[in-house]
């Protein structure tokens, strides 16, 4: 279980990333945030976001049209 959950379903680029960044501030370093999104572009974008910011995608899955990312806050 992630420490916090962000429901970004129905939102389009760049909102899932921006809301994720905002919510990550409330996640203690080393803890995780689970993001749910329906934007198919989020698959590439969350990977790029994490590579650039140093946060880590520790889990990723897809259930129908919903993409799920579990991100561990780095710093």
């Amino acid at each position: 279980m992630a420490d916090l959950v962000l429901d970004a379903k129905g939102l389009n680029c760049p909102l899932p990333i921006i809301k994720t960044k905002k919510m990550l501030k409330d996640v203690p370093v080393g803890s995780t945030l689970e993001v749910l999104a329906t934007d198919p572009g989020s698959v590439a974008d969350f990977a790029a976001f994490c590579r650039t910011t140093g946060n880590e995608i520790v889990e990723q899955s897809q259930d129908g049209s919903v993409y799920r990312f579990v991100i561990r806050r780095a710093a």
Binding site: L11, N12, P14, L15, I18, K21, T53, G54, A74
Partner: protein
């Protein structure tokens, strides 16, 4: 030497964007890139000049025109329709096209420009209004949203010279 990919530990990267267009469609790229870059830890400066300057007005009423915009294909009844210029010239067509676009934007979960602009302020994007354009088009600082700065080409250049990315939109 810094290497790429070790992220937030390094000094932040920076980006500037010159924003020169203020129609509903052209307002998106600078605000999307600006807010996303800020979310990725980039220091962002946006310089609003000429027709981009009204994007800083307190009250936004952005329009899009199909006139002379042959690439503007609107989804309609399962197809994509281009409006002939002779229809695009008629009064009220711009308002109708703008309304359709705003409805589509809301329906598809795309952020409004107002929303993206609020986020830009919130994530401390350095927003500079071009003083010359303010004078030219007779805008006053009190017409504009709070938190912006006034400046000219030299102010922009100072930021651009030390930035990793400089865009003109």
């Amino acid at each position: 030497m810094s290497s790429q990919g070790d992220g937030a530990a390094n000094a932040p990267k920076s980006m500037t964007i010159i924003v020169t267009k203020g129609t509903l469609d052209w307002a998106y790229p600078p605000f999307i890139l600006g807010t996303t870059a800020a979310a990725m830890g980039v220091d962002v400066t946006m310089f609003f000049t000429f027709y981009g300057l009204p994007l800083l007005l307190k009250k936004l009423d952005l329009q899009v025109s199909p006139l002379g915009n042959a690439a503007m294909k609107m989804p309609m009844m399962g197809m994509h329709m281009v409006m002939p210029n002779i229809i695009g010239m008629l009064p009220g067509v711009d308002a109708m096209a703008s309304k359709m676009m705003k409805n589509m934007i809301a329906k598809k979960g795309v952020a409004s420009i107002e929303e993206l602009r609020d986020m830009s302020v919130e994530c401390d994007i350095n927003m500079i209004a071009c003083q010359m354009t303010m004078d030219l088009f007779e805008y006053k600082l009190e017409d504009m949203i709070p938190g912006i700065k006034l400046g000219g080409a030299a102010t922009y250049m100072e930021n651009a010279l030390k930035s990793d990315i400089n865009l003109y939109i």
